[in-house]
Amino acid sequence: MNTLIWIVVPYACLAVFVVGHVWRWRHDQFGWTTHTSQLLESRILRLGSPLFHLGAFGVIIGHAMGLLVPASLTEKIGVSEHVYHATAVWGGTVTGIMLVAGLALLIARRFVNGRVRRVTTTMDKVLYVALASMVILGMTATLGTNLLGEGYDYRETIAVWFRGMFWFSPQTDLMAGAPLVYQLHALGGFLFLALWPFTRLVHVWSAPLAYLWRPYVVYRARRGAPAAVAPAPATVRDRGMHDIRH
């Protein structure tokens, strides 16, 4: 059971994540977009979207720090356990609240504005549910356990297991002993990654940083052969007459 949940499912999800992206990139350039709806509703979006995105950046950086940087490393460079903990909890709480507020606004917008509601696809709904559950679980872990509760040192367990994924030696017993919300959040995280390539989230990989360097005006040569010259109606008629006669 442990093997299934903490080895098979995560790897399967990662595989779907990678293969899904390759497949989508090759087959669906036309669908690869942020799918902006600002045209339809701008007021709530102007508050919600930056909150959500900036919050998400913070949260992603936080996860990277917590999961990828081993505790031994932070200690070696002289960051005490207490300082690390405080940064993580407070940073996580602030960015987390931004994320929650942004997400709430974005979801509310889909309900209150008829135009946006109408263009919300099933995939969007699945994505919003997935995002919301991930955020709720994550915030419960941060706020409930670490800020208000007695705390849980995920850096010695979850992070070690997670890094093990990359060396193909995940230690399942580390996860089996973690509190339930952490377990759910971790598992949900992998499922979320599997969902990623099939949603509008793919726009993340198109963040247009190259814009900062390229020349302003882009010139491009026409691709392929030009359209053929359509025969004039009279030519078509004459050809037809010719065919009839012969």
Binding site: R24, W32, H35, T36, Q38, R115, T121, L209, Y211, V217
Partner: protein, 540 residues
């Protein structure tokens, strides 16, 4: 010096009757789809008026086009690169649907299925084409047709608010005291396109061969910065696909040597299409001249005279086929812009170097002549009105010459002189030499200008070389190799049926192929079974 060819358009505004045929045929061709209900690649506005989208000419608000910064460098009005990327999560200067209008449809079934013997006539209600809810119609792409509502709103026309305050105060919108004309607008296919420059993905581009500005639908990621950057608001967001779309200059027709749909169907026959050669390396300097009023002359200088042997040599060296050089020499657009100098760019002060130019309308002036109790067939009276009755002239100057009333007046004089000259010629055969002198043209020039403006036939109005003749042989071979669409071959420019189905998310259902709603594991348009992941095709 880098010579390029540009397909350009001139519209003769005096002949526009505001029939909107151009808008409708363009819409039927390009934007009659879900997601583009509100989009008009070609729209016809009544001026004075606030336009479509509302007040789009107010760049203080919408931040379109370019401006010079404190050091005299050309920068996009919506800000530099970093600033633009910092606003990618929410673009504060994006017009919303309410700035365009809410597209509506009617529930006509109410009329068809009304039972016999009703005492009241059944009424069809307008419904939003987006939500399906009943709405009241309060605005449209052409709400101000024929100055509708002008007494309430036209005073806020950005061209009027930009006029000197005493002149603006004298503009009247009472029925008999005002002036009006129609302004058909399409994308300007600018030489210095702000939309292209603002596109973070690099999906928008200007074609090297003919200067047509296009959006690569496969590379657009929906960052919507182009919409803000275009001062003419001629890039639109398709809300169904999440991608930007714009006037294509009907490139498949242009490549085949045919006029655009809007030109082909123009009832007033007022559109001219032709080539202009220009020097790409001179574009930036021309767009950066200090004084806005020098922009017109600066842009004219970017163009290269196709009759100059030096230009011909450059063109040949650059690999342009002879057909193109000949077309450039016969270009009606070149003649109107540079020979007669009666065509003017729309809002040169946006510094995008637009390539759809306009012969300004003389009719508002003639109306003013009549209103002042003068004789509109008398050249002196008309000249006098142009010089002294500033209102219509200053308004036209805001539109076409960055406020330089003398420049517009010069063009109007030429048109007035041509009118009187030809009138005299036709009525009693006299040649009005003094009129020629007044506008600095020869009688012959005036007559050929008249011919081009008044009676030029199809072949004279549209001089469009086909896309490179060197491709012709390859095309022939391609066409001969298949019995279906000749473009539908491997590596060909057309798309095979399967590719079309996949690219545009078509679904096969009940013997029909259509875009739209499908179940999670439905068969795709190309017949294969597959997980449906299309974020756009879920709605019907």
């Amino acid at each position: 010096m880098r010579i390029r060819a540009q397909v350009a358009m001139v519209m003769n505004l005096d002949k526009c009757i505001g029939c909107h045929t151009c808008s409708v045929t363009c819409k039927q061709t390009w934007t009659n789809r879900e997601g583009t209900e509100y989009v008009w690649f070609n729209n016809v506005e009544t001026k004075p008026g606030i336009g479509y989208p509302k007040h789009y000419e107010d760049q203080e608000r919408w931040k379109g086009g370019w401006q010079l910064d404190a050091k005299g460098r050309l920068v996009l009005r919506s800000g530099g690169r970093v600033r633009r990327l910092s606003r990618i999560f929410a673009n504060p200067d994006l017009p919303t649907l309410d700035d365009y209008y809410e597209p509506a449809t009617f529930d006509k079934d109410v009329l068809v299925s009304a039972p016999a013997g009703l005492t009241d006539t059944p009424v069809k209600q307008p419904r939003s084409a987006l939500t399906g809810e009943p709405i009241s119609l309060e605005w449209g792409a052409n709400w101000e047709d024929g100055l509708g509502g002008a007494h309430e709103r036209a005073g806020t026309d950005p061209n009027i608010t930009a006029m000197a305050s005493d002149a603006a105060a004298r503009v009247k919108f009472e029925f008999e005291k005002t002036f009006m004309f129609h302004l058909p607008r399409i994308c300007e296919h600018c030489l210095n396109p702000a939309c292209v420059s603002a596109c973070p993905s690099g999906a928008m581009y200007k074609r090297e061969e003919d200067g047509i500005v296009l959006v690569d639908q496969d590379r657009c990621r929906g960052w919507r910065m182009c919409v803000t950057a275009c001062p003419y608001k001629k890039v639109y967001v398709n809300h169904a696909t999440g991608k930007a779309e714009k006037c294509t200059f009907c490139f498949p027709r242009i490549e085949a040597g045919q006029p655009t749909i809007c030109s082909e169907t123009c009832v007033g026959r007022l559109r001219y299409l032709g080539l202009v050669f220009y020097d790409e390396d001179a574009v930036l300097a021309a767009a950066s001249v200090q004084d806005e009023r020098d922009l017109l002359a600066a842009q004219r200088k970017v163009f290269l005279d196709p009759h100059d042997p030096e230009t011909v040599r450059l063109a040949t060296e650059a690999g342009l086929p002879e057909e193109w050089v000949l077309a450039a020499q016969a270009s009606p657009v070149w003649r109107l812009i540079s020979d007669y100098q009666i065509a003017l760019p729309l809002h040169p002060e946006y510094r995008t170097l637009p390539m759809v130019w306009y012969v300004p309308p003389l009719s508002p002036v003639l109306d003013a002549v009549g209103a002042a109790g003068l004789d509109d067939t008398d050249a002196d009276d008309v000249f006098h009105t142009i010089r002294d009755l500033r209102i219509p002239v200053e308004y036209l100057a805001e539109l076409f010459t960055a406020g330089d009333a003398d420049a517009v007046a010069g063009v109007l004089m030429k048109l007035a002189a041509m009118r009187s000259y030809m009138r005299a010629r036709t009525l009693d055969g006299t040649v009005a030499e003094e009129l020629c002198e007044a506008v600095g043209m020869t009688g012959q020039e005036i007559e050929s200008m008249y011919r081009l403006l008044a009676i030029a036939k199809y072949d004279e109005r549209y001089v469009i070389p086909t896309a490179y003749s060197k491709d012709a042989a390859a095309l022939e071979a391609q066409a001969a190799s298949t019995s279906d669409c000749s473009l539908d071959c491997a590596g060909g420019p057309g798309m095979t049926e399967a590719a079309t189905a996949e690219r545009f998310h078509l679904v096969a259902e009940g013997g029909q192929t259509r875009p739209g709603r499908r179940s999670l594991f439905a068969r795709r348009g190309d017949g294969r079974l597959g997980l449906s992941i299309d974020p756009t095709g879920e709605r019907s």
